[in-house]
Symmetry: C2
């Protein structure tokens, strides 16, 4: 089989531990399906700051640029929180998104059976919740001009939110396309009653919509969406929105499933290239103890297979293996009801590999 | 007693119906306490567009400017949704906030006993939830420069988010002051890892904090706050944040209580002047049927008494009357378990007046 190049940037905190288990899964897939993966490892985030003086070293960026896909663990931690901006892990994250042109962040928010009770929402409200938030990732107020200036009222800070038609079009089209493969409902979220960028967004959505007559479209204001996610989560299928709103709503959606520790995400550019990572963070408080849950990262590999490599069967095998291991009652500490029976990161990885 | 001038702008949809009940409560307070209120009515929102060609007519603005407080019903409806910007009800809302200098929006999110089960959150998670969101209301991306321009990639829209030190200081101080009167915990919400305005915000909070050593301060990133509101709502006391984040988070917080139809809000300027309104909207679908719940508007009067007039005893009387009527089992349709026993807007207002 063709060799697929995967850049692996494990990052900080529990990143290296959970990524190690995902690598075992990649290896097992090679054995089972005859696929061939070439893994190359790069420094990224806090560890790159410590060792190279920058969160996104040039060689890591090149590694990613030369790869077919990127597997990311997690970045950040208190150690770097008070650094100046250029020396902070999240600057690396924003930098890699922009440099790789990853304009679309896809976050499925699903409820895992074994975690139904972990949600703070009532089970009957959560019933049937299975939605995807598609967030624009390289535009908006994240990347617009930012500066300080003097004013009559002391220093003044400015952020600029900018979107052009092309940027809106490509993400909105992706929203329609993904909705088409699912329950055919798209909620476009904006604040068109206040923001000019939102009015451009909504006009663009309305212009494109006739090309997707099979998809049911609703416009939802961002404040209302924050409410409706709580009131009727299962009524959403695909939500598409701009960068800042997506940051907030995708976290809200993930949390309401109760399954946030198990969720994977994809950041996609033009073509099939993508960066895959768990939704959870670097969890510095439990790093190095071998107790982190590797499932979200392992499921990120399945997502990579599906969206970048087109290895749907292998993705199915991974997802089924995860389900079987959970159904057999195995749990890491974060999802165990009886913490005394919890197993570690490696044991969980091994069980999933064995179940594949 | 000194005459207090109240500008009454009932607005659209159910606005006039619920405001009429609040006026009965004002009248009853005059009888009970000897207070004197001078009410003057103004057109505002959609009805002002229809009758005067603008959502905020000059005479309405002057009425408000000459008053000690404003009582607002609700504005908006599908009839005006596709109007050009200057002819939309929300433009009136933004205009009145700016013109009256209402820089602070205060929204208590509390759980009403009789509505405990109406929340989509589990009762044990909601237990003890009693928080206030203080939202900056006259700055940020709502009021910064907005425009369109051409770009290589089609039309481009721009919104500008601006905050100066003085604007941040006054709202943050209010956050600390309000926290002081409560459980002494303040969560300041920003996106300091990305936005320059948020970095100015956080610096300002940290500079002021030493003046309030009795208040426990935590900085929460907006995405994380959207999650924590779901995970541990009862751990929040006062949340202070900028305009756009406050719009989203205050709606999320209100919805999670399950009591959104009963919540009141205050928008305050310098001094004691304030505008008071229910959190719920104009509900055009049930307007004119006499079935809307007037309680949020009646409780807005209590909030006006407390925050603008210093009539704490009268506020207590209103709040107790509401509680007694609810405890006696009376319900409007929105909060009735047995809808066939629901009472109308006027009946509810009359019962509360009788219970005062
Ligand atoms: C760390 C931060 C810059 C980042 C973001 O806001 O995009 C994170 O919250 C995320 O959602 O990936
Ligand atoms: C109608 C709209 C402009 C307004 C806002 O965003 O401020 C509303 O959502 C609110 O919260 O009062």
């Amino acid at each position: 089989a063709e060799v697929k190049k995967i850049a692996v940037v494990a990052g900080d905190g529990i990143g290296p531990e959970v990524v190690a288990e995902a690598e075992k899964v990649l290896k097992r897939t090679e054995e089972l399906f005859g696929y061939r993966f070439e893994l190359s490892h790069g420094l990224f985030g806090g560890i790159a700051i410590d060792e190279k003086g920058t969160p996104l070293p040039q060689e890591t960026l090149e590694l990613c640029q030369n790869a077919d896909a990127v597997l990311l663990g997690a970045v950040g931690g208190p150690k770097w929180d008070n650094n100046p901006k250029e020396l902070r892990p999240e600057t690396g994250l924003l930098g890699i998104r922009k440099a790789l042109g990853l304009f679309s962040n896809i976050r499925p928010a699903v409820v895992f059976d074994c975690l139904k009770d972990a949600s703070t929402l009532k089970p009957e409200v959560l019933e049937g919740t299975d939605l995807i938030v598609i967030r624009e990732l390289t535009g908006g107020i994240y990347f617009g001009e930012k500066f300080r200036r003097d004013s009559e009222n002391g220093q003044e800070a400015v952020d600029t939110c900018v979107y052009n038609v092309k940027e809106v079009e490509r993400i909105v089209r992706q929203g329609f396309e993904v909705a088409r493969t699912r329950r055919k409902k798209l909620a476009s979220v904006d604040k068109a009653n206040v923001l000019e960028t939102s009015r451009l967004w909504r006009e663009t959505v309305n212009r494109i919509a006739p090309e997707y007559p099979d998809v049911e479209l609703e416009h939802v204001l961002v404040d209302n969406c924050a409410m409706q996610l709580l009131r009727r989560p299962s009524s959403f299928d695909v939500i598409v929105t701009e960068n800042m709103f997506g940051d907030i709503l995708s976290d809200e959606a993930a949390m309401l499933t109760g399954s946030i520790g198990m969720l994977s995400s994809a950041s996609l550019g033009e073509g099939s290239f993508g960066l895959y990572e768990p939704v959870h963070g670097s969890a510095p408080d439990i790093a190095g103890q071998g107790i982190a849950n590797p499932i979200a990262t392992i499921l990120s590999v399945a997502l990579m297979f599906r969206l970048t490599f087109g290895y749907a069967e292998a993705a199915d095998v991974i997802e089924r293996a995860v389900k079987n291991v959970l159904d057999a009652g195995h749990r890491t500490g974060d999802i165990a009801v009886d913490k005394s029976k919890a197993i570690g990161t490696q044991a969980m990885g091994d069980l999933i590999v064995a179940a594949m």
